[in-house]
Amino acid sequence: MSPPPSGDGTEPADELAAAFADGPAFVPYLVAGDPDYESSLQYVEALARGGADVIELGLPFSEPIAEGPTIQSAIVRSLEAGMSPERFFAFVEELDVDVPLVCMTYYNLLYQYGAEEGSRPFVERAAEAGIAGFVVPDLPAEEAGPLRAACDEFGLDLIFIVAPTTRGERLERTRERVSGYVYVQARLGTTGAREEVSDRTESSLERIDDWDVPKAVGFGIKTGDHAERIVRAGADGVIVGSALVDVVAEGVEEGRPAAETAAILEERATELKRGALRGASEPEAEQP
């Protein structure tokens, strides 16, 4: 087994590193199977067409303690439509997209999968399906030993979240274990689109300034303008979830054909990606 890839850049898995290589990455998130398997396939593909560099795919868990109301509802829709780990892998295999896919789910689903105890069977199957890495919001670095080992075994990345409250030793522990990219949580709280970008983003980015993994910022990003400011603040990528899930929810509420919702998602993705690019291309206004 190779030594674990880390925040210092030792052997990051290729796929995700590549996605961040040429300028700021746009990392959209949707719940797989929301509101149903078929529509969801179209939606994810629309994000890819809209310029996604990485896509985070939520595998729904019944107790999503890190999610705000928007994603909670999406999870309920997906579960009610029959999403399960098995179907998730089928979904990933059926997807016709060219960008790396990250599976975002809670630890119990990884843990329960397969006959064998622990998360290894899940990782093995995910690797086979073509998943590039994981985000597990209820798995802090301290508890991640077994999963980190399984990811290493199968060549997958394990992304950790750095919160506004993460400091000191905990920052170091995360740095040692992270790979692919680090998910910088822009504010305290749960996921959900906001009107304003948080002040705490910059100071969070500063604290991990010297990490070698790309830094993607999420939690509350809604518009191209947000994306622009986040990138200007130093992010290597922007993660956008609830703002896109909102489009799916609207589609459900208004009974829109899936193709139409897919078109809106593509458009929204394009705008967000453009915002991110603007943040990188123009010189910063108040640059010292």
Partner: protein, 412 residues
């Protein structure tokens, strides 16, 4: 990090944003609770006595003793202020939050007993307080909602899922993720991420400290067995803790068997809350423990006629003690609990909480394993359950239940 675990159970499976708060809490727990820094523990003991009403008595149940041909003793946590064992923990944590300089208290509640206890402790210590409670529980535990509001706490109904304890805990964790810097989350049982299970147990252990002394005074020896109901397991661990080293004392944790021990995987529903008896290993609400879950790992909707036992998980230490063979998990169904509720009320003059009624239902079912001297923990009183009991009793045609025709125009 073995001090966050009990065997393979426990741990800290929480969002990153909460990890620093758990570290801070761990530190405060060690200094104040274990180390009595600034006289924390002295103040706690004084307040739980003068405000809470400790020690609670250990009394002999004369008529149950006759019925079962054993010496049945009752540890009377129903007499604690607020009407359940919950205040031991709530007062401890709210006081700790004060020592830690926190400015706001949040908590979840199922039956409303923990919410009530927390609201009372917060009012007593002058802390603002918000309680999350599933919508179903809000509607089936109205008196407790009134009590929380009257003590000045905000009550936030949670509309997600089936609207019971599981959803309320998830929602409180979400609040905490947002407000962790100045809020303390007073978790209501020996569940959640470390150090909660140990800390809550330590606050509740005062039950068995007293009971162990009291039974020795009464009988000159230790009991043959100790019986407590188990939801999350805080009254259970509180009642067991000091007896754990006494290997001759059998410990029985009585879970809610609900309407059946069979599960409906398709509907995602377990019509019981017997996670020790029927659950499997998994991770929920910050800890690895025994859970009611389907084969994918989705958490099931649990069920019990008693809101306070209606939870899909259980404290990790209890799961560990069961694995070790130190604690015996048993369970009784809804009907048996309702019958025990009425039997105990009419024969002892104490109306137990529906949760507690499960412990008494086990006395009826148990055989020689209980031995000659049994202590049952009366974890709470049943005032909060009156409407539920009357409706459920009527619906199920439970025998020996009193009629309720005294009201103008019947019951409602």
């Amino acid at each position: 990090m073995s001090d966050t675990q009990f065997g393979r159970y426990g741990g800290q499976y929480v969002p990153e944003a909460l990890m620093p708060a758990l570290e801070e809490l761990e530190d405060a727990y060690e200094r104040y609770v274990l180390g009595n820094e600034d006289g924390f523990l002295d103040e706690f003991r004084e307040r739980i006595r003068d405000f809470g009403g400790r020690p609670t008595p250990l009394g002999r149940a004369d008529r149950l003793s006759d019925r079962y041909g054993r010496e049945v003793y009752l540890k009377r946590e129903d007499l604690l202020h607020g009407g359940a064992h919950k205040l031991n923990n709530a007062l401890g944590q709210v006081l700790l939050a004060k020592y830690m300089g926190k400015e706001r208290i949040i908590a979840e509640t199922g039956a409303g007993q923990h919410g009530t206890a927390t609201a009372m402790a917060a009012a007593h210590l002058g802390m603002p307080c918000e309680i999350y409670m599933g919508r179903t529980d809000v509607n089936r535990q109205r008196p407790n909602v009134f009590r929380m509001r009257i003590n000045g706490a905000e009550v936030n109904p949670v509309d997600i899922g089936r609207g019971t304890l599981k959803e309320a805990i998830s929602e409180t964790m979400r609040d905490w993720s947002r407000t962790v810097e100045d809020s303390h989350y007073v978790i209501g049982s020996v569940v959640g991420p470390s150090p909660f299970p140990r800390m809550v147990r330590d606050f509740q252990a005062i039950i068995s400290e007293e009971a162990r002394e009291q039974i020795r005074e009464r009988t000159g020896g230790l009991p043959d067995s100790v019986v407590a109901c188990a939801g999350g397991g805080s009254n259970t661990m509180g009642m067991f803790h000091e007896f754990v080293p006494d290997e001759d004392v059998s410990l029985f944790a009585v879970e809610a068997g609900g309407s059946s021990l069979e599960v409906d995987e398709d509907a995602g529903v377990a019509p019981n809350s017997a996670s020790l008896s029927t659950g499997a290993d998994g991770v929920l609400h910050g800890a690895r423990t025994r859970l009611l879950q389907d084969s994918d790992g989705q958490i099931m909707e649990s069920h019990s006629v008693s809101a306070g036992l209606d939870y899909a998980g259980v404290g990790p230490e209890l799961a560990y003690l069961v694995d070790e063979g130190r604690v015996t998990p048993v369970n009784v169904d809804d009907d048996a609990a309702l019958e025990a509720f009425h039997r105990f009320s009419t024969s002892e003059g104490i109306i137990p909480a529906l949760e507690t009624a499960h412990a008494f239902a086990y006395l009826e079912e148990a055989g020689d394993e209980l031995g000659e001297v049994v202590i049952v923990n009366v974890s709470g009183r049943g005032d909060k359950d009156l409407e539920t009991v009357i409706e459920e009793t009527d619906r199920r045609g439970i025998e020996a239940a009193p009629e309720m025709s005294v009201f103008d125009g019947g019951l409602r």
